[in-house]
């Protein structure tokens, strides 16, 4: 059923009784050409593009809970392509381009809202780093603007310009950056994949990976054995847990990242703004809640919950940036499990094991990457050849000394 204002109108007249499930709940088949572990944004996007772009439709997505129960439903919904380094910059720009046409592509309104992302800077050194980054973006045709203090002040007069411990000097802005309704991304991809024949199997936990003669032949699951031609991991924070099933150690640690939402407010802040003198960033959802976050808690965790000290730290930075936030109330905090890689950049690659593919290491930036990740991963799986744009995200880059380290902090994930 195609979604449109017209279909909504027609169905309303019929008492909204004719809506069909957005995706099926199939019984798993014995064998698929491709089995994807992880029904999150990346797994579903991979399935969607496998079917739509590469004609691979005999695909199952296995999700241990409900689809979108992982990080695609627990992030702060930001999209941007303001990256510095060669390996990252074109990839995130590909993602941005896919976002820009996504809703028409999969016929689901994910509310892609290009309201602009501003990164505030507070010192000459930060300005210089943003100059370098903004120019790198421009070199690839990505939009970037370096705003001075007065321009930022005109746009966001309610930031603390007068009493701040670390005065705002300006901002790097990407106008095309913005937000997307996160759950809708999972649902849109799921619906699009399902309609092209992909089986989305929820409540299906993978408990083992079966190998014969070194090749992966299928997975043991809570719904029985499912055979596959190729097995693709897209398990985000649980990547290690799955990789352990084939004794493959990964350059990844799982960390908890908290996010927050305030009570609903009338329009308060139009853009996505990140504070440069502490860990805080904020945007406002279409429902009115201020959606914000900070840094990861800093320790390994598979628990989707965080620490009060981090909550306080984030609030302190928030009020330092916007003093008027003081009387705004925070409604809820939650945590996601991040697959933090050793250089802060992702991995989309084959593995040393035949037929086993890896998509992991997204750190806390996986949401914005969803379309490009799905697209490049689908390319790799379908053609056994990396897509040009995701070519740098090799698993062996650490051993080879080809890290893609935007922050320059090395192999300590809690600093990325």
């Amino acid at each position: 059923m195609r979604y449109s204002a017209f279909s909504v109108f027609l169905n309303a007249l019929r008492g909204n009784k004719d809506w069909k499930p957005a995706w099926r709940s199939p019984v798993p088949k014995n064998h698929y050409d491709v089995v994807i572990i992880g029904g999150g944004g990346h797994g579903l996007a991979t399935a969607y593009y496998l079917a739509k772009e590469f004609g691979v439709t005999n695909v199952a997505v296995l999700e241990k809970g409900y689809i979108g129960s992982g990080n695609v439903g627990r992030n702060t919904t930001i999209i941007r392509s303001n990256y510095l380094l060669q390996g990252n910059n074109p990839f995130y720009e590909l993602s941005m381009k896919l976002w820009e046409g996504l809703e028409q592509d999969f016929n689901f309104n994910a509310m892609v809202s290009q309201r602009g992302v501003l990164n505030l800077y507070h010192s000459d050194a930060q300005r210089d780093a943003y100059t370098r980054r903004g120019n790198a973006m421009r070199l690839h045709g990505v939009d970037a603007d370096l705003l001075d203090r007065n321009t930022v002040r005109q746009m966001l007069p309610f930031l603390d310009f007068d009493n701040a411990r670390f005065p705002i000097q300006g901002a790097l802005m990407q106008k095309r950056g913005g937000t997307v309704r996160h759950d809708a991304v999972a649902w849109g991809y799921a619906r699009g994949a399902d309609s092209r024949g992909v089986d989305i199997i929820q409540n299906c936990e993978v408990t083992g990976i079966r190998r014969e003669n070194g090749r992966v032949v299928g997975v043991e699951t809570s719904q029985g054995f499912i055979g596959c031609g190729k097995l693709a991991l897209a398990a985000a924070g649980n990547s290690t847990v799955v990789a352990d099933m084939v004794d493959m150690k990964l350059p990844i640690e799982s960390h908890v990242l908290q996010a927050f939402v305030s009570e609903g407010l009338k329009p308060f802040i139009d853009n996505v703004v990140t504070f440069g003198a502490g860990h805080f960033y904020v945007s406002q959802s279409d429902k009115g809640g201020l959606v914000f976050g900070g840094d990861i808690d800093g320790y390994n965790s598979y628990a989707q919950r965080g620490n009060l000290a981090t909550v306080e730290h984030v609030a302190e930075a928030g009020v330092a940036m916007i003093p008027a936030l003081s009387r705004v109330r925070v409604l809820r905090s939650w945590g996601g499990v991040m697959d933090m890689s050793m250089d802060g950049s992702p991995i989309i690659d084959r593995t040393p094991i035949d037929n086993l593919y890896l998509n992991a290491g997204w750190c806390y930036g996986g949401f914005k990457a969803t379309p490009a990740s799905g697209f490049c991963y689908a390319h790799l799986i379908a053609k056994n050849e990396p897509h040009e744009t995701g070519r740098a995200f090799r698993l062996d880059r650490f051993a080879r000394g080809r890290m893609i380290d935007e922050k320059g902090v090395g192999s300590q994930p809690n600093l990325h």
Binding site: Y3, A22, Y66, N109, T131, N135, K287, G288, G401
Partner: protein, 985 residues
């Protein structure tokens, strides 16, 4: 007719009237009122509009779960949107405004949405607004955003103070209702350190509105007696107006105390709110239970109220809900409300009891309709009648108030903050949390216990057990166990056949059909249903709606609520202000300030300061007549190169290193050799990370055989200290080496320039001639005729003949003054970090602009510093990787414009001459740049592919952000005095 205040009764102080306004209209309440009860006393039932359909809404509850009565209180910077009127303790001067309405709460144009509701079902927006694509941001989204949201936040800064505290106790009791009071009393008598926290302004919980006797005593007497005994115990602290909002690891509880939210005149000496982090050895969760609404048509019309809330308003604040009340109940508590209404002389039109069997022995005046249902409530902005289905027939009963009770759900929020999953209990018809978890026990109604007597016994008994586990062997329960006679009814999740909208989530306007649609469209999982319909995502976080939604989903999916399960309970229990979470760390106090011992010396010399981490450093020292910073910096640079200058470098990290293995240790943490550094010598060192990248640089001097003095960069001082301690304690505990940070012990003063020796010799007692104290000399010196001992280092960042003199911090200013005095005849001037930066760029010296975490020594021309002879040092092994030895790594060069009249900025990229701008053609970037007054040109350091091989190549310095494209030439990074003649001068 509407609600009003009864002439007698209640726990209010009729002698203390309080004036307030609602939507500008003056009203009066009494001490002991909440804003909600005061509004009801003034006959104000319509107080807000719902989120989506802008339905008129009244006051539904008397507590934290209130979804409807959200108002904006306060003025200016004290404006607080979305405040629950039910939790606001009334005070004189309170101003409250309704929200989400235009032009007024009584006449709201947004209510037109209600007519469109067939088109605005769950998730409708996912299906439309996609065409044309550009319209989303320009047209649709702004409209949706304006319509959505609730209250309007202020942009004004908050004038009030906040703070955060720690508290420690043996037993934290959460909730001062019957079970909590009993627990606290038990623990208090045992001598334990107790904290009893309660969100209300009066402790007591359900005892405050209980009219029945408890163990033969009136509830009020029992409460008064218990509170009096607790107040006399020095080991018991009672935190009223304090909501425990989260349970965190390590048995730390977060709580927020409303210190001055009940006053219009705020005392600036005290915070308005205070966060408590309570470290509790054990805790009792006695948070009580929440009454469930019933889901029938029009269940949101003002005048419909929870039965328990109605009873609470009646008994605590003497509020009559109306003239004529219908009670719709699936539970005994509807009868308690009816009893109290009749006792107050109010009319109860009927008791509609959904149960066929469980009907109470009712002896009041009102008729009881068993096995009957309220199918629809009718009315617009106020209830006028209800339609009751009884015996298969519909009857209309006129009523202006409706009390509803669907039974009670234990409040287990906090008990599930750390991963525990609620479990459905058929026996209790409720989700329960594990009764005992490590550090936390649930007691009373929160554990599904029924009557007040049993709650008292449960709280007391569980506190005694928890204390015994802590070693309080004398702990004895303050109340004895009694049999629980409370009955549990089969839940009624929804009324079938309603004509009107039956709301599940009031605030978000999620009604029965929305949940049905979610199931039909495949979003039947409780989490998906929540996200698709927004049920439970309002400011009350589903306190009222979640359980009914689960029941409705279970019915629709034809499974048990146990199979549906709950969504995850997440902090905070109730919303928490940014201000409270921030405490005192705001504005200029966001982070502490760290001041150099020469701060005031710099200030009196006119310094302009810049934040550098937590420090303030002097940037430049403007003199009379100078109008731009560049003028000052140029002068400082030229003067240092010509005469001499003095610069505060106290912020550099300084570490004393002791131990007989100190040299061996340094040899392992630096990539260059330190083992044989002679006593009295300084050496520049590069510290790598284990992945081969440079971590930090600095000089380390050997002051004695087993005593070294290390300097680090300002930014990395703390990190280097941690790193050294890690290496010493975790990697090589067999080495004898100790560290003391002495950053704050020393005022460190750089004296640079051709006259520096002359000047310093005036203070230093020892001979510091080149022969006696050559470049890289380092030693303790006697100053000013033995008045003081300092440390002198002949090191140079500026490339000049230069020294760094360290003196005890308290004497820093005196010594700096003395140097200025001695230097006056030689033309000395103070210089700041800007001039220092210019001179270091002129000399090609790197800082963290270049050492950015992605460079290895050879990238910066330090290949020879990497010892090949040493068996091991941090970073050695990883340096050999292919990517780190590749030819095309970005490496250090100088860059300057071909035309000195042109300039460029740091952060510009380097393109080969004529190359098309693209990432593929990117050759590198300018890492540092400045105007060099000595060269009369902008100069820069850059990291460029094949850098050193490209000296002389013409390039474009590309700064598209500023439309600045400068023709430039790559060159040696040393622009000035490459032979170091001045350094050794």
């Amino acid at each position: 007719m509407s609600s009003y205040r009864l002439p007698k009764g209640g726990r209010i102080d009729r002698a203390r009237p309080l004036n307030f306004t609602f939507d500008g209209k003056p009203m009066q309440g009494l001490a002991g009122d909440t804003l909600a009860s005061a509004l009801l006393a003034n006959g104000r039932q319509l107080v807000g509009r719902s989120f989506k359909y802008h339905r008129p809404r009244g006051i539904l509850t008397a507590g934290a779960a209130e979804p409807n009565a959200l108002v904006t209180i306060g003025e200016g910077g004290r404006t607080e949107a979305n405040t629950r009127a039910t939790l606001v303790e009334l005070y004189s001067g309170l101003t409250a405004k309704s929200q989400n309405r235009w032009p007024s709460v009584d006449f709201d144009l947004g209510a037109v949405n209600s007519l469109l509701s067939p088109f605005l079902g769950a998730g409708f927006y996912y299906k439309t607004f996609m065409w044309p694509a550009a319209f989303w941001e320009k047209v649709y989204e702004p409209i949706i955003r304006k319509a959505a949201g609730l209250g309007r936040a202020t942009y004004e800064p908050d004038p009030d103070a906040y703070e955060k505290c720690w508290a420690h106790c043996d037993l934290l009791v959460i909730g001062a209702g019957p079970s909590g009071l009993a627990a606290a009393l038990t623990a208090g008598r045992a001598g334990a350190r107790v904290i009893l926290a309660d969100e209300g302004f009066e402790p007591g919980g359900s005892l405050l509105s209980e009219t029945a006797t408890v163990g033969g005593k009136s509830a009020a007497d029992l409460l008064a007696k218990t509170l009096a005994e607790l107040a006399d115990m020095p080991n018991v602290r009672i935190f009223s107006r304090t909501t425990v909002f989260g349970w965190y690891d390590g048995n730390v509880f977060g709580a927020v105390e409303s210190v001055q939210k009940n006053t219009a005149t705020v005392d600036p000496n005290r915070p308005v709110e205070r966060i408590w982090r309570i470290a509790a050895k054990q805790a009792i969760l006695a948070s009580g239970a929440e009454e469930r609404p019933l889901v029938f048509g029009g269940n949101d019309i003002p005048g419909v109220m929870m039965a328990g809330a109605m009873r609470s308003y009646l008994n605590r604040q003497a509020i009559a809900p109306g003239k004529n009340t219908v009670v719709f109940t699936n539970d005994e508590s509807g009868y308690q409300t009816a009893t109290d209404l009749e006792a107050a002389g109010l009319e109860v039109a009927a008791i509609v009891d959904a149960r066929a069997d469980g009907v109470s022995s009712w002896s009041g005046r009102a008729p009881v309709f068993p096995a009957a249902l309220v199918q629809d409530a009718k009315g617009g902005k106020a209830l006028t009648s209800v339609t009751v289905l009884k015996g298969g027939a519909l009857v209309t009963i006129h009523a202006d108030a409706l009390a509803m009770s669907g039974g009670w759900s234990p409040i287990i929020h906090l008990a599930c903050h750390r991963g525990a999953k609620p479990v459905w209990s058929d026996a209790k018809a409720a989700f329960l949390a594990p009764e005992i978890q490590e550090g936390l026990t649930i007691a009373g109604a929160a554990a599904g216990v029924g009557s007040i007597e049993t709650c008292l016994a449960d709280g007391a008994g569980k506190a005694a057990s928890a204390l015994k586990a802590l070693g309080f062997s004398n702990a004895t329960a303050a109340f004895v166990p009694v049999a629980d006679t409370a009955t549990v009814s089969k839940p009624l999740w929804r009324v079938h056949g309603s004509k009107g909208k039956a709301f599940v989530d009031y605030q978000n306007d999620v009604h029965l059909k929305d949940l049905g649609l979610a199931v039909a469209e495949g979003y039947g999982h409780v989490e998906l249903a929540k996200r698709y319909t927004t049920n439970g995502m309002a400011t009350d976080q589903g306190k009222l709606s979640n359980i009914n939604a689960i029941g409705i989903l279970a019915e629709a999916r034809k499974v048990s609520p146990a199979d549906v399960g709950t969504t995850t309970f997440r902090p905070f229990y109730t919303p928490l202000s940014f201000g409270a979470l921030t405490g005192a760390s705001k504005g200029k106090h966001f982070q502490p300030v760290r001041k150099s011992p020469l701060h005031d010396w710099a200030k009196k010399n006119g310094a302009v300061f810049v934040e550098t981490g937590l420090w303030y450093r002097s940037s430049w020292f403007p003199q009379a007549g100078e109008t731009t910073w560049r003028e000052s910096v140029d002068r400082e640079v030229l003067n240092v190169r010509k005469n001499a200058g003095i610069c505060d470098v106290s912020t550099l990290g300084k570490i004393e290193i002791f131990g007989k293995d100190a040299a061996e240790f340094l040899n392992r943490v630096y990539c260059n050799a330190f083992l044989k550094l002679p006593v009295g010598k300084a050496r520049y060192g590069l510290m790598l990370r284990e992945d081969g990248m440079i971590y930090d640089d600095g000089t380390t001097s050997r002051l004695g055989e087993t005593h070294f003095f290390m300097t680090t960069t300002t930014a990395y001082a703390a990190g280097v200290m941690n790193h050294l301690e890690f290496c010493a304690q975790a990697l090589w505990p067999e080495l004898d080496v100790q560290f003391a940070s002495s950053t704050d012990q020393w005022a460190q003063i750089a004296v640079a320039g051709p006259k520096s020796r002359l000047i310093l010799q005036a203070l230093v007692d020892e001979d510091i001639s080149d022969a006696a104290f050559p470049f890289l000399g380092a030693k303790e010196v006697s100053l000013c005729g033995g008045k003081l001992t300092g440390r002198l280092f002949r090191i140079s960042f500026s490339g000049e003949l230069a020294y760094e003199l360290a003196v005890p911090a308290g004497y820093g200013e005196a010594i700096a003054d003395a140097i200025m005095e001695a230097g006056k005849p030689h033309g000395i001037c103070p210089y700041g970090v800007e001039a220092l930066g210019v001179m270091r760029i002129e000399k090609g010296h790197v800082t963290h602009s270049e050492i950015n975490g992605t460079v290895i020594p050879s990238d910066l021309g330090f290949a020879k510093m990497v010892s090949t002879a040493k068996p091991d040092f941090i970073g050695k092994a990883m340096l050999l990787r292919e990517g780190l030895t590749a030819e095309d790594r970005l490496s250090l060069v100088g860059v300057k414009p071909l035309d000195p009249a042109t300039t460029f900025k740091t952060g510009s990229h380097i393109l080969s001459e004529g190359a098309v701008p693209s990432l593929e053609n990117d050759q590198g970037y300018v890492s540092s740049s400045c105007y060099s007054p000595n060269l009369g040109s902008t100069i820069g350091l850059a990291l460029v592919k094949h850098g050193p091989k490209r000296h002389g190549e013409h390039v474009t310095v590309w700064n598209d952000l500023k439309n600045e494209y400068t023709k430039a030439v790559l060159c040696s990074p040393v622009f000035f005095d490459p032979e170091n003649g001045k350094l050794h001068g």
